[in-house]
Each structure stands twice: as structure tokens, then as C-alpha cells.
Symmetry: D2
Subunit: 442 residues, 4 copies
């Protein structure tokens, strides 16, 4: 299992900031990403002949976050409204000499910060996608192992008809794999470099702007945008949406786990369960609970980022600055959900016997629909349904009650009733669908 939260995550981080994404959105990571943008700019300027290679390398060599004081840069940010200009000043000082004059050349603060945001997102997505993939793989393994394990399917939290645990786990697999694929697409296609200068014209670069932009994007390994997207924030919005989908997928699986782990259901248990501060007998499904806690923080953050798309003219008066924290928080909480879910699924113990016992607890009533369907040709669907529903509502053995009913008995013998009520006979395409999922994503 990959290292989760680090020892310096504070009081809540081990719960709300699990996984590698949290570290990837910290200040040090932002600082390095901003410096990477400055380095890439210098090299792009050299590649297009605007500055000398030596100057570019002198700048690039100085772009090491550990040599800068994030707090001092941050404090200076209050004057101009963002930390990119004090960083450029500090970088110029550090570079010194002639090369200093070429630091940040042609760029505006937002070029550096937006590019850094894309790099931060790209880097945070690496562990996040790995955790999502591992959680999907754990779901796939559960689907394979329990391909033929019958259990109660539940709708509106009521037992409905039999399914297999393999099908349920295959559903988890599909949700997680599709969410991962969606996020990976956004990462590959939509995370783009930003370079426009003060108002998107790259005016300081004369006619070289487009060429510098192309070289800069190549240098960074980010997509090259058609034009500067300082106030065209669809890229952020798409990323936010895909993260919200991933968080929701994780939350769905975790909700199922918490429900299956209920004392009264007890079909699964987390292998490394949490204890309780006071109750020795409890085996809390901490991983699933924490997954939900993290996942539930996502939709509000997505809404903030989507609302922030409405940005004025060539640089927004607030909506841009409103993105920084929510974007980091969204990557962090979605990453934490994925990391917790991975842990929870990798350690999930399944109790097929209990699944079977729960399935039988209604005395075969989950086969009521099958019996009604079998009676429908003779009695009419509505009448058949009502007859069987009436018998199902009475307590006691369902098979016996059916056999004792004259209207049923006239059409179905005991053996046929027994066959209809056998969960194994009611599984329909459960296995086939689970196999499809494993084939597609396993």
C-alpha cells in the first residue's frame, strides 16, 4: 500500500487529507510549479531565439523551491494580489547578472500562476488516479472472487431480488473506472499551459508570441491552448466536474460498504477496522466513513469553481483569485476519498454465509416477483401481483403459504414454487453483466 498522509498533516489530515494529492497541493508544490513555469518560459524564450541559452539555463538552474521563502513571498503577495510578482522579484535577485533581466519576460503573474495550477493539478492527479485505479482493481478482485456469491439486491433500502456480490462489486468497478478515465482524459487533453502577457497578446514578445507559447507548452508537457485563457475558465470547470464525478463514485461505493457493515447486516467488515474511543465491541468501517467524509466535500467546491468561470475582461477582479483554495481543496479531498477507498476495498472482508442468511431471512419472499410473473399469464398481471403481495405480507414460511393458497396451488406445484423461490434461479444476467465489467475494466 502506498504511503498515505505524512506525519505533518496536523489534527485532521490523516482523515481528510489522505493520499498523495494532499502533498501535491501544498505551498511547496505550488512554489515549485510556479518556478517550473518560469524555467519553462526562459527555455522557451531561448528556443525561439529571444534570449541566450546560457541565460535560460541560469534562470532554470535557480528555479528550486527550496531556495525560496514561501512565507515571505506570500506576505508580499498582499500588495499586488498574487504571489507570482514577488516570486519573480525574488527569482531575479537569485539569478542575478544579465540573465536576471530575462526572468518572467513577457509574462504576467497569471501566466505563472495558471500554469502552476495546471502543473499542480497534473501532479496531484498522479497519486489520485493511482488510488482510483487501485480501488477499481480491488473492486474487480472482489467481483471475480464473489462472481457467484448470492446476496440480496436492495432498493430503497429494502430487500428486493437476489443479485450476486460479484455484480455489486462489478458496479463499483465500472463507476470507479469510468470516473478515472474521465479524469485522465481531462488531464491529458485539457490541462494547458498559460502564457498571454498582460492581456493575452504577449505584446512584449512582438510577433514571437505564438512560437514562444508552443515551446513553453512543450517544455511543460501541457497542452497548448489556442489563445490565452486568463478569463476563459472552462479548463478549470472541466477538471472540477471530473473530480466531482470521481468523488461521487468513491462516495457511492463507500456508502454501500457502510450499509453492508451495519451490525444488523454484517455482510462485510473492514479488515483493519477502526476501534472506538469508548466502545470495545465496535468495529467501525473507518475507511468507508472517511471516504464519505471526503467525497461529500466535493460538490460545493465544484460549484465554487464553476461559478468562478464568470470572469471579467482580460483578468478577473476576484473570481480568478477565488479559484486557488477551492481547486487545491477539491484535488485534496477527492484524492483523500480515493486513498481511503483503496484502503477500505483492499482490506474488505466479505461474509458469503451472512449474505445467504440475510437473503433467506425473508423466507423466500425475494422470489415473490418471480412467482407473480409465473402466475400472471393465468391470472392477469395485476391480480397475480396482488395475490402474491397479500401472501407475502403474512408472516411465516412463504413457500408453504403459497402452496396452501388455492389460487396458487391450482397453477403451481410445490416443486415449481420451490424452484421459483430459489435465489440461484433468479439471478438473470448477474454473472454475465459482472463479466462484461471485468472484461471492460478488469
Amino acid at each position: 500500500m502506498r504511503p498515505s498522509s505524512s506525519p505533518s498533516d496536523g489534527l485532521f489530515g490523516a482523515i481528510t487529507s489522505r493520499g498523495g494529492a494532499a502533498a501535491a497541493v501544498r505551498d511547496e508544490a505550488w512554489l515549485q510549479a510556479m518556478l517550473d513555469a518560469e524555467a519553462a518560459l526562459a527555455r522557451a524564450l531561448a528556443a525561439t531565439g529571444t534570449i541566450a541559452d546560457g541565460d535560460a539555463e541560469a534562470i532554470a538552474a535557480a528555479c528550486r523551491a527550496e531556495d525560496f521563502d514561501a512565507d515571505a513571498i506570500g506576505a508580499a503577495a498582499a500588495a499586488t494580489g498574487n504571489p507570482a510578482s514577488p516570486l519573480a522579484r525574488a527569482l531575479r535577485e537569485r539569478v542575478g547578472g544579465e540573465a536576471a533581466a530575462h526572468v518572467h519576460r513577457g509574462a504576467t503573474s497569471q501566466d505563472v500562476l495558471d500554469t502552476a495550477a495546471m502543473l499542480v493539478a497534473h501532479r496531484a492527479l498522479e497519486p489520485l488516479l493511482a488510488d482510483l485505479s487501485a480501488a477499481a482493481a480491488a473492486a474487480a478482485e472482489l467481483a471475480r472472487s464473489h462472481r457467484d456469491t448470492p446476496m440480496a439486491g436492495r432498493t430503497l433500502l429494502q430487500q428486493a431480488v437476489p443479485i450476486t456480490f460479484g455484480l455489486k462489486a462489478a458496479g463499483w468497478l465500472v463507476a470507479l473506472a469510468e470516473a478515472r478515465d474521465g479524469l485522465a482524459r481531462v488531464r491529458d487533453e485539457r490541462l494547458a499551459a498559460q502564457l498571454g502577457g498582460a492581456a493575452g497578446t504577449l505584446s512584449a514578445l512582438g510577433e514571437d508570441g505564438p512560437a514562444v507559447l508552443a515551446a513553453y507548452a512543450r517544455e511543460l508537457g501541457l497542452a497548448e491552448p489556442t489563445l490565452a485563457w486568463h478569463t476563459l475558465r472552462g479548463r478549470i470547470g472541466e477538471l472540477a466536474g471530473a473530480l466531482g464525478v470521481a468523488a461521487g463514485a468513491a462516495g457511492k461505493v463507500a456508502r454501500d460498504v457502510t450499509l453492508l457493515a451495519q451490525t444488523e447486516v454484517a455482510e462485510v467488515v473492514e479488515r483493519t477496522p477502526g476501534g472506538s474511543s469508548a466502545m470495545p465491541h465496535k468495529r467501525n468501517p473507518v475507511a468507508a466513513v472517511a471516504t464519505l467524509a471526503c467525497a461529500e466535500q466535493a460538490p460545493g467546491l465544484v460549484a465554487t469553481l464553476l461559478a468562478a468561470q464568470v470572469q471579467e475582461h482580460e483578468r478577473a477582479a476576484g473570481a480568478w483569485h477565488a479559484e486557488w483554495r477551492p481547486l487545491g481543496a477539491l484535488l485534496e479531498t477527492t484524492g483523500s476519498a480515493a486513498a481511503w477507498l483503496r484502503q477500505g476495498l483492499e482490506g474488505l472482508e466479505v461474509d458469503p454465509a451472512r449474505m445467504r442468511a440475510n437473503l433467506d431471512a425473508t423466507g423466500g419472499r425475494l422470489g415473490a416477483e418471480a412467482v407473480a410473473d409465473a402466475l400472471a399469464p393465468a391470472l392477469g398481471r395485476t391480480q397475480a401481483h396482488e395475490l402474491v403481495a397479500g401472501i407475502a405480507r403474512e408472516p411465516g414460511d412463504f413457500a408453504a403459504a403459497l402452496a396452501a393458497d388455492p389460487d396458487v396451488a391450482a397453477r403451481l406445484g410445490r416443486a415449481r414454487i420451490g424452484a421459483l423461490l430459489d435465489p440461484a434461479a433468479q439471478l438473470g444476467g448477474a454473472t454475465a453483466f459482472a463479466d462484461r465489467a471485468l472484461e471492460a475494466h478488469g
Copy 2:
């Protein structure tokens, strides 16, 4: 221009429900979509040999919304929690005869409602995407017509450096076209048929489930899912995210228009402006205002749909039902934003003379950065910047003040100062970037 809101949109609909999406999410459209699902199911059952072709056609022939009473079906929905079961009952009655027994066969209510939701979304996206495309085309036309029209680029609502109106409109084009492309992708790849039966196993169809599902999806023109997605709601989440991005793109453009139309800026005016109930002199940019009003309703609805992804087991106890209204409202409000924006951009009058006048209103100070850059090699960047900033802050003619400053005069002659302050010389890649946008999306 396509017809916008219909005369029966009530008090607010002409403003908040413009465009074709509103009609596509109304009850009648949902009802027809549910019936289309039932018809497709019958035909899929026939195609796979489960029922006779004649029965399927008898069912399909009865699936006409105008023959059903939406209010009566809706009233009956309270008992079971959704309108699909009363509709199936009503359809059975209408079909009559032997075929009636095959209505809704193998399906569960959610199969019909989820499939209907996908059809409703697909149909609502048609006018919505057409309006987005038309708005993008209008932006492209503005970008072409004003390829060389200089105006002030504005950051933090302050004049910054010159740009062209062509570049600004090209940015609008990119935002709208990329949002449209994202939505179209979701429509084509992610809107899928739903068919799983009571708990996703299609148990009533025995081993034919997967084949019926494939035929059903083909019949509907929707994607075929790997397995039932009753509680795997990433498809809804992706659709919501893409709609939120589109609403944000429309909102960004409209915000710009309202700002450019301000009395004190007056660079654009809507050709068919709204009047005012009391103020004869006002020319309100009603289309842009309404676009913003509609766009700003999207993020909260997206958050609701993303949060609703956390659904229990095989059918959710509430979160599924929580999707119906927000999904319709989100399609409607995003569609309305697109329709208004199209109208606003197609009728936008641009005043290049006023743009030029505003650009000149600061006495050439938008060229301050260019002057400082020109002085930087000699004075050092920081000192050059501070010197020029000091001069820029004094009132009066900027060029004259620069020429009168001994530090400036020692390095730059009047002619050079004049050249540096000429907006046309500061446009950098404005035209090149606008051309790229037109090439990509025009």
C-alpha cells in the same frame, strides 16, 4: 433566429426559460420519453425473440404521450414514489389484449425513468447546442469584423494594455466552442440506455438480458452501458459538469458585454435593447443580463446532481428522485443562457470609435509598460518601472511628461516615446491569436 420561449412560459419563462431546452424538459416531453423507452423495450424484446413482433408493434403504437393524462399519472406516482409504474399500468390498459402482458416486461420503473432522462437530455441538448454554436458563430463574426479594432485590455477592471476587439471576441469564441464540444462529447458517449430490472440483473429475462439491452440501446440511439447504472450516476454527473461549464462560458461573455455596455464605457450596445419601465434614456443590455441570470443558476444545480451520486445499493432511497427536477432545471437554465447569448451576440453593435477614445483617455498610459521595458536595460527593471509609474501617476499628457523627464529623455527621444505609446505597436500577437481561434473554431 429560432423561436425562443413559447407563449405559455408563464411570468418568468421568457427570461429564465428561453430557447428550445425549456420545452424539451417539460412534462409532456418526459412523458413521451418514458413512452419511447417502453416502445423501445417492446421492440428489443421482439428483436431478441422474447415476444412477438405484433405485440411489440401494438405496444409501440400506443406509446403516444397525447393519449395519456400526465396529471393522473403524476398523482398516482405518490403511492410508489415514481411515475413510471402508473404509466406502465395506463399503457397496459391502453394496449389491451394479449400484448398488454408484455408492456414494461422485465423492466423496473427506474429503467424507464433513467432512459427517459437520457432522451430528455439528448433532445434538450439539440437546441441548446445549436444556440451555443450560433453564439459561437456570432462571436467568430465579431472577431473577423474587428480583427484590427484596437481597444483597451482590462485587468482587475483597470485599463492595462491595448488589445483588439477581435482578440476579445475570439476568446469568447473559444470558450463557447470548447464548451459546446465538451457537451457534445458527453451527449454522444455518455448518454446511455438504462435497463436492469429490479436490481440490475434483468432477472425476468433469464439469460437474454444482455441481448435485450443491446437491442434496446440501438433502438433508442443511446449508448449501451456495460451494466445497469441505477446507482452509478457518473453519467449524470458528467452531463451536469459539462452543462455547468457551458453556463459559465455563456456567463463570462455576457459579463463582458454588460461591462462594455456601461454608460461610461459604451463600447457596445445591444441592437434590440430593453427599455426601462421608467427611464426613457436607458438602453439596457437585456440579453446579456438575462444570460447572466440564467448562467448563475447552474453551479448550485450541478452541485446537487454531483452530491446525488452517492446512492444506496441497487436503488437509492431519495438521491435518485432528487435528480429529476435539478436535471431539468439545469438543462433549461443553461439552454436559456445559450439562447439569450445568441440573441445578444447576433445583435451586438460595436463602436470602434469609442473603443479608441477610451484607449486614449489615459493619455497613452497603457504604453507605460512598453516604455518601462525600453528603459529597463539601461536603468534596471525595477528602477525603470518605478520611474515610469511615478510619471504615469501625475496628471496631464503622458508623452510630454516622459519627454520632460531627464532620465527618460537621456535614453528615449520623443519619436521613440511616441512609437512606444502607439497602441498599434503594442498589440503583440493579438491578431495572430485571434486568427488561430477562427481557424480552430470559426
Copy 3:
């Protein structure tokens, strides 16, 4: 029980628009509220001597919604951006004569629409608060009836320690009553008349503005604001927040009900349960499910209304118009949640025997904490906790296992163990706290 949704609620209204609030936010209600504002204005103008009493009464007499064509007014609204100006025009025509000139005098469209919004909210809150109160009363009745019914307290969905159902229902009571009180406070203190004229100065009324405002507010039965709040939207924000709290309270209770009604828990059942389209044996807790469905739509709408507070200058360019639909939808969905919850709680059947059986299902393990506490003085807290936890984790009879453990046996006899494991001995202040709740809110 009060009438719930009307027969014309369409496909989904019986589920998502239950209760009286839905009708109170319909177009007809808005139209009447706008006319009520116009009538109140006319009477206020007469009361302050600006116009003749006869003219005021002529205007007021014409302010009947049934005489106006909402669709026609709505269609005309697209030109000016709101329906208040076409309504004023239509009202003038209807009034005719000299009095016509005094229609809408001194007012701006937003005065009429904002006042109407407050009236609509006030009127929608009446049934909403009644339903909340009735739901609270039903919870109180459950708390009284089951004052001494022991059941498992559950934390993280695991059985924890015994509580009473009385305490649980008392908690529901507190949540619902406090939410109701908060909403009632907002209604009484913060729903205010709006009257400012074009830009908040009531310029057309000269120096009479404040006096007219006071008379207008009195006439309407709404609070009198200090000044016009055209772009000061805290009132809307507070209303939204209080509705969001009420929806959350309803959702919490409903979540509990759905969990208690699970097949495997079966401690409650809704007396008028929903059936299922296909499964005769199911007794779906439709009221609780629908409550959740409605409650979960609230937070996103609240966010929209809070975000819309950021309004420009003296009238917003979009954010005001963005409030209309979400405000209605929020009142409707919260009201529907309250109406459903009332129905669900009023018809809730409780099964004390099943509660006791579930409590005993862990073989007394819910008393593990009590045993550990009793051993703590002798063994130390941590050691006592670990010892008991180890015994609890083994299957089999817990009391016997405790008695068989030498470390336990040395300190606690069988009788003491039995007493410690008796749920009745572990209830602490359950009854006292429930009584406090009944005293405060019952």
C-alpha cells in the same frame, strides 16, 4: 391531514412538490402578489395624501390576478427583463380613467417584484411551517409513546450503546422545532416591503418617500426596511439559509426512518407504505424517501441564492433575476420535504419487540463499555478496554465469556456482569433528555 399536491402537479409534482408551498410559488401566486404590491402602493399613496382615496381604491379593486393574462405579461417581460413593467401597463389599462395615471407611481419594477417575492415567501411559509410543526408534533407523540422503549443507539451505523426510541424521536422533535422557529423568526423579522423607485431614492415622491414606504409596509404586513434593499440581499440570504436548515432537519429524520425501515432492521414501517411496481413483498418507506429527495435539493439552491447576493450598484445586471426561480424552487422543495415528513411520521409504526431483538442480537455486547468502565479502576482504563474488546470480538454469549475470563471473574461476579449488560441499566439520561425536549417543544 391537509391537502397535499393538487391534481395539476404534473408527472413529478406529487413527489417533489407536495404540500402547500408548491401552490404558493406558482405563477398565479406571484401575479397576485405583484398586484397586491401595486394595491398596497396605491393605498399608501392615498394614506399619505399623494393621491385621492378613490383612485387608490379603483386601483386596488383592479388588482385581481384572475383578470390578467400571465402568459401575455410574461411574454412581454422579455423586452424589459422583468414582468413587472408589462403588468403595470396592463393594470393601467384595466384601471382606466384618471386613476390609471397613479398606477405604479413612484415605483420601479423591482419594488413590485421584490415585494411580491416577500409575499410569496410569507404565504408559502404558512403551510410549510404548519407541516413542520405537525411533523414535530408527530415526533413528540412518538417520543411520549416510546419514552421507555429501549433500542440500540447506533454510531457510524454500528450498534453502540442502548438508547430509547423516545430519545431518538425527541431529537427529531428538537431538530424540527428549532428549524421551524428559525424560519418563523426570519418570516416575522426579515421579510420586508421593497420600495425605492428607480435607484432607491423614491425621487418621484419628493420628500414623501419615507412616509409612503412606512404606509406601504403596514398595508402589506411586511417589515419596513431602513432603506431600499434592491441590491442588499441579506434578507433573501437569511431566508435561504433558514430553509436550508429546515430541509436538513427533515432530511435527517427521514434518513433515520429509511435506515430503521431496512429489511434487516425492521424497527419501523410506514403505515401507508408505497408498494413497488414489480415486487409484491416490498413495503417501501416512500414518504421518507421522498422527504430525502426533496431535502437534498435544497443546499444547491441555497448556494445559488447566497452567491446572488453580490449585486451591482443600484440594480444588478443578472444576479437579481437569478433569484426568482431558485427562491421558488427552494420554498417548494423544502415545503415538500416537510409535507412528506409529516405524512411519514404521522403514519409511522414502531416495533418495540424488534427493537429489543436487535438490541439483544449482539449478545449483550452493547454493555461492553459499561463492563470496561467497571473494570477500569482495577485494571487501568486502557487495559480494561482491551481485555473487554478481545472478549467481545469472540463469537458466542458475551456474559458467559466475561464470566469465564479469570481477569474479569476476579473483579465482577455473574450477577454484576448481568446487571452491567442489562440495557435498562445503561440508559443514563435518555428519559430525562427526552422529557426536556418535550417540555421545550412538545
Copy 4:
């Protein structure tokens, strides 16, 4: 001016975490608040005779955050799902001796964390409310100083009719003061102690539970709840709503400031404006921009907290844990908005001459409504409106054009026209309303 963000706020904190609330929600503050809860519990147990005074004081004396390792406690939190149990363990070790056994006695983790959340909120609200009050006072001062300064009222971003800057600033005052009052009410009435033990019964305290709760609440200076609110989260919801309203009020004022500070409007400037990394001539309204950036992050966080109200049974499986970060973030971002706004308003320079110039820029057209009103008795309202609108739309001097129109000239002489177009004559109740605001909140 009070100290704003500290030097250790990292890269973004000086912008997004200004003001004292940020420090009040940090881990150290949470840790101390948790320890304060433990100390209050010990003292309450002593006050009710459950434990000895000496033991209580020994515990209380150990409750100093600086003696605990937040990172270690946080790391241990992953096992149980919250940091309160490892903290209790660490506190027991630190206290030692007999008293150690009484640490955390009767409480559950959530008691300590919820109480800490309330203390954290209470303490964060102190600087937040102080900043809101100071911002309101600055608005009041502006309202007083510019009581008679005419300016253009603007609706839909178009000049509408004259107002005074005093009235605009008075509106800001009202919004800020009402938001502050709402928040103060929540602080005083709704921030409550939490003490319920494992499932709300305080079972370990036998019959002493209610008495201990009362003493505990007194000790903490928090409200005493009727019963444990472990899963009744209306208090959090109300706090969130009030914070969202306050953020919106700050955002509204800041939006106005950014609009007034536009280059083309230039009616205000921030006295300590931000520079720009590259543009020497710009005077960015950084405080207003940062206020908006902070305010716009609030609604999404409010939605998260409202959605998290739906909590299961006696302790939620995720929704509780989902509150911690958003609650802190919401206090922080709202506090930061208030701190920035205070700075912005305290340093706001107003330019009455420019206000007058902008007012005159339409050649008196803001008086068009007054002229139309004056003509209405003779011409009919609609005709008068259309006549004047037509004249207003023509370029050139408005007064002259009116006088030249025969229909106007027949009714109004030049002097009357001049009087009607005089802004000072059109101010209506501007001053009276501003005075009311100052009286109510100044």
C-alpha cells in the same frame, strides 16, 4: 488597523486568509479548544460532585495545547476516525496519577470535537465581527462625509437617475451591519456545548447527565442544548447560513468598489492600491478584489455544511467528519473578506468631482424620467415616455433638444426643463434614507 495575516500564512494566505479568523481555525486553535472542552468537562464533573476538585484541577492544568503534539495526535486519528480519542489518551498520560482516570469521563469523541468546533467558531467570530463592524463604521463615515455628494445611480450597469454617494454608502452600512447582527445572534444563541456520551444518553454519568451538561456549558460560556445534537446539525447550518450572508454583504460592497474604481468611471480609488507586476500606470483595487475572491468561496462551503446535516442515527458515518474542513474554511474566507473590506473601505478615496462629471456626461439625460413624469398628465404616461425617450436617444444637448421639441415646449419652459434636469432636484429621499441608516447602525 488590526494586524492581518501572519508571516506564516504561506503563498496565498495574505490574500485568502486575512484577518484574525484564519489563525482561530488553525490546528493549534482546534487543539486548545478540544483541551478546553476536556478541562470544562473535568470541572463540571467536580462541580456536580462526580470527581474531586483536585482531580479536575489537575486535568485542567494539563490542558495546554503547547504541551501536545498535534501531528502525532492527528496521525493516530486515522485509526479511530477522529483526533479526540488520541488526544484523550495523550491527556491521560500527561495528567497521570489518579486524576488520569477521570479524563474524558462520560464523554465521547464527538462531544469534545463538537464543543471545540463551537469554541473555534466563537473565537473566530470575534475578529470577524470586529472587522465587519469596522467595515460598517467606515461605510458609515463615508455616508456621513458624502451625505450630499450627488452621483449617478446605476441599474443594470447603466446610469439611471441621480443618487448620493451618501445613500450608496448607507446601503453598504445597512448590509454589513445587518449581516453582523445576524452572525452575532447565531454566536450568542446557537453556539452550544456538546455532551452526550456515546449515544446521547450520557449513560456513564447515570442520572447526573443533565446536571453535568449544565455545568459544562456554563464553564465554556456556550449555550446549553436541550439534548445532545450529535446528529442534529441545525446549529452548524445556521452558523453557515449567517456566514454566507456576511460574505455576500462584503462581496456586494466590494463589487461596487471595483466598478467605481474602473478606469472609465474613476469615482473611487483605494488609498493603498496594489501595483501591478508589469504595468506601472495601474492602481488596482486589490482590497476590493481580494474581498470578492474570499466572499465568492463561501456559498459552496455553506452548501456542503447544509448538505451534511443529513446524519445517520446517533453519529454519522461520514457527514460529521465532512464538516471539519468546510467549517474552518468558511470562517476563514468570510473573515478574510471582512478584513479586506475593512482595509479597503477605511482607505477609500472618493472623487466627488468625477462623480459629478460622470453624472453630467449624459447631458442631463438622467432627468429624462422626471421630464416624462412632468409631461404625463398632459400627454398620457406612455406617450410622454416615448416622446422623451426619442429625444434622449438623439445625441447632443438634452435640455436644448427638449426645449426645441414643440410638444415639450408647449408644456414646459426652458427654466422648468432646467430645473427638472438638475440632479439636485431629483434626489428624492436619498438623504433621508441615508440618515435613517446612520441612525439605525451608525
